[in-house]
């Protein structure tokens, strides 16, 4: 790309980030103006502005590069120019706003879900946990939860979802190069991926890998699958999430305000190399990015209890606030990194801690709530499968709507830590 075009894009990025810090109505300074000396920003605002630029341009060393220079637009442009001259052009690394990302080489070829077969009204859950009638519905917005039947567990639900996904893509299990599983409730060995490997009858040389991250697990799985395919180490990867909370968060073991939120479910996605896909349909994976906001680490912890069961600590208020703040930030980052306006997406497959938070998030992002598929309200918080069930719902809706219904999809999720991650899919 010619230098002149890069300069225009850099300036636009700098101006957008400046206005995020100084206010949308702030007048833009001259390029050489010292932003601190002239009082346009104070030192805290200057650093905040640089951090915004760092995250949107993916240049984590920007602040460091600007040390010893005058705090001005011109200094920032100079760093960008130097990076370009040194062969580290920003434009190639990260698409800037309004430069819509091209489809990547990894396709989501098929998806499926398997939910706990017992749909239980939230009032029944209230009663089981000894909570006032209607508490879950009124406080969290949960109308019902999906509970696994006696013989349903992570393995059976995951297998069902996996088989359905493979069948819908006409993919024989022998074609799989890797099975990647994630679950926040399965802690036994053989691991979930190994059990799925056996049950799905994958070939012996197909790898089986379990990834963590709790509710972020699906995105972790996608990132690993994408890396394997992009590196040429795999052509077909099955990513499976499966969470059966009702066996772990039982009444008497955990508080209803926490345990009552969760349901049981699984999701499965077949990711394939575009060169290996029979037809160039479906969605292509964009980029995935991750991080961990350690200041929220104490907001939730789940640890094994000495006498069996689990010890759960959660600070509901802090967790809700952190979840909204972080999810909003991740979605904004997805928008900046992808160059896709949030208003133009088909839907957002995000984690849904509870329906009230989804409503709040939609409001914060100024997005219609119907862009978020209904998951938590009907099935409860499904852990790593929430994002999967939401994504499957959007993909199915897209399939029914024909070509015109195809639009990009945003992904965003969180896990205890506070782990966070985001990404996007674009029509292939």
């Amino acid at each position: 790309m010619p230098l002149q075009e890069d300069e225009i894009r850099w300036r636009r990025l700098i101006e957008e980030c400046f206005r995020r810090e100084a206010g949308s109505q702030a007048a833009l300074p001259d390029a050489t103006q010292d932003l601190i000396e002239t009082g346009l920003l104070d030192s805290m605002g200057w650093v905040s502005f640089l951090r915004t630029l760092e995250s949107t341009s993916d240049r984590n060393d920007l602040g460091s590069q600007l040390t010893g220079r005058i705090p001005s637009f011109e200094s920032i442009l100079l760093v960008f120019r130097e990076a370009r001259a040194a062969g580290r052009p920003l434009a190639a690394a990260v698409p800037f706003p309004r430069q819509v990302a091209e489809p990547g080489p990894v396709l989501i070829a098929a998806s499926s879900v398997a939910l706990g077969s017992r749909i239980v009204a939230s009032e029944e859950v209230d009663k089981a946990f000894g909570m006032p009638h209607g508490k879950l519905r009124l406080r969290a917005g949960i109308e019902s939860v999906a509970y696994g039947a006696e013989k349903e567990n992570e393995f059976t639900l995951g297998t069902r979802a996996g088989q359905q996904a493979l069948q819908s893509a006409y993919c024989a299990p022998q074609e799989l190069d890797w099975i990647i599983a994630t679950s926040e409730t399965h802690h036994a060995y053989p691991s979930l991926s190994a059990q799925l490997h056996s049950q799905l009858l994958a070939r012996e040389t197909c790898g089986a890998l379990d990834v963590g991250g709790a509710c972020l697990g699906l995105l972790n799985g996608f990132a690993v699958a994408q890396a394997l395919i992009t590196a040429g180490k795999a052509r077909s990867v099955l990513v499976v999430t499966a969470d059966v909370h009702s066996h772990v968060f039982r009444p008497g073991l955990v508080a209803g305000e926490f345990g009552g939120l969760f349901g049981d479910g699984a999701s499965a996605f077949l990711l394939r190399s575009s060169s290996n896909s029979p037809a160039q349909v479906g969605y292509a994976a964009g980029e995935f990015f991750f991080g961990s906001a350690g200041q929220y680490m104490a907001a939730i912890s789940v640890t094994p209890a000495p006498a069996g069961g689990v010890d759960v600590y959660f600070d509901g208020e802090a967790l809700s606030r952190a979840a909204i703040t972080k999810l909003e930030k991740v979605v904004v980052d997805v928008e900046h990194r992808s160059g896709i306006a949030r208003s133009s997406v088909k839907g957002l497959a995000t984690h849904q801690p509870n329906p009230r938070l989804v409503t709040l998030l939609a409001k914060q992002l100024d997005i219609p709530e119907d862009k978020f598929p209904v998951v938590a309200r009907t099935f409860g918080n499904l852990g790593s499968s929430t994002c999967g069930v939401a994504l499957d719902s959007i993909l199915r809706d897209t399939g029914r709507g024909g070509e015109r219904a195809r639009a990009p999809i945003f992904l965003a999720s969180l896990g205890p830590g506070l782990l966070f991650g985001g990404g996007w899919l674009v029509p292939a």
Partner: protein, 237 residues
């Protein structure tokens, strides 16, 4: 008369903010002497560790700066204590091992840019000490920033370092008279064994503070970091 041990002097722009410890029966707590006309001092001719005699009157300052006291007469230096002794007293004052207990309220993350803040009506105080598991200093656009892990494991990222001695040290390190590649040399020093030296110091300790409402929010900052920088460190890089 009040006896005040000066524990922190912070610098933001040209203004200095002074914090000290006062003994009240069995308790030691922080107070922030302010002049009758401003919340800060443009000139403060004393140093950390100085024990001053002064007259301080309660001041109906806005929350959360409940530590504010108006100085009604000049300061008189009585004696001085060592840096390690200052930390010994600080450990007996406001102390927290977790994020939530620092100021008795939730700290929120800035949605854009960087930093943590509290809503002005929520904090119970504006100063608190803490032990850290780990700490890292970095430069961002001429500003010294700290990332640290509290003893609870919670991580506070990208806090502005406002301690006068640390800021003076950075200014001295960046002085033109120190020759070429000053930024790179300083960064290399900050990223070297230096941080083990800080963490392994027996009186390693930090104090965190909240700014006065700025854009309607109180921002978290690293008020001070012990041990304090030594002039001889400048000879090392």
């Amino acid at each position: 008369m009040t006896k005040l041990l000066i524990t922190e002097i912070t610098r933001m722009g040209p203004a200095l903010c002074v914090i000290g410890l006062q003994r009240d029966k069995d308790k030691i707590h922080s107070v922030r002497p302010v002049s009758a006309t401003a919340n800060s001092w443009l000139h403060f001719p004393f140093y950390r560790g100085d024990v001053l005699q002064c007259d301080l009157a309660p001041f109906p300052g806005a929350k959360p700066h409940i530590e504010d006291r108006v100085s009604t007469r000049g300061f008189q230096k009585e004696s001085a204590v060592s840096e390690a002794e200052v930390v010994r007293y600080l450990r007996k004052a406001e102390l927290s091992g977790s994020l939530k207990e620092l100021f008795g309220c939730a700290l929120r993350e800035n949605k854009d840019g960087s930093g943590l803040f509290a809503m002005p009506t929520e904090p119970k105080r504006s100063i608190c000490g803490a032990e850290t598991q780990n700490l890292r200093l970095e430069l961002c656009g001429n500003e010294l920033r700290a990332t640290l892990a509290l003893s609870s494991g919670e991580v506070l990222r990208d806090l502005p370092v406002v301690d006068r001695d640390w800021r003076d040290f950075i200014d001295a390190a960046m002085a033109e008279s120190r020759g070429a590649n000053r930024v790179a040399r300083l960064e290399r020093f900050l990223n070297s064994q230096f941080h083990y030296r800080i963490l392994s110091c027996p009186h390693h300790f930090i104090r965190l503070g909240l700014t006065r409402p700025y854009h309607d929010l109180c921002w978290l900052m690293l008020d001070t970091l012990f041990p304090l920088p030594r002039p001889e460190w400048l000879e090392e890089f």
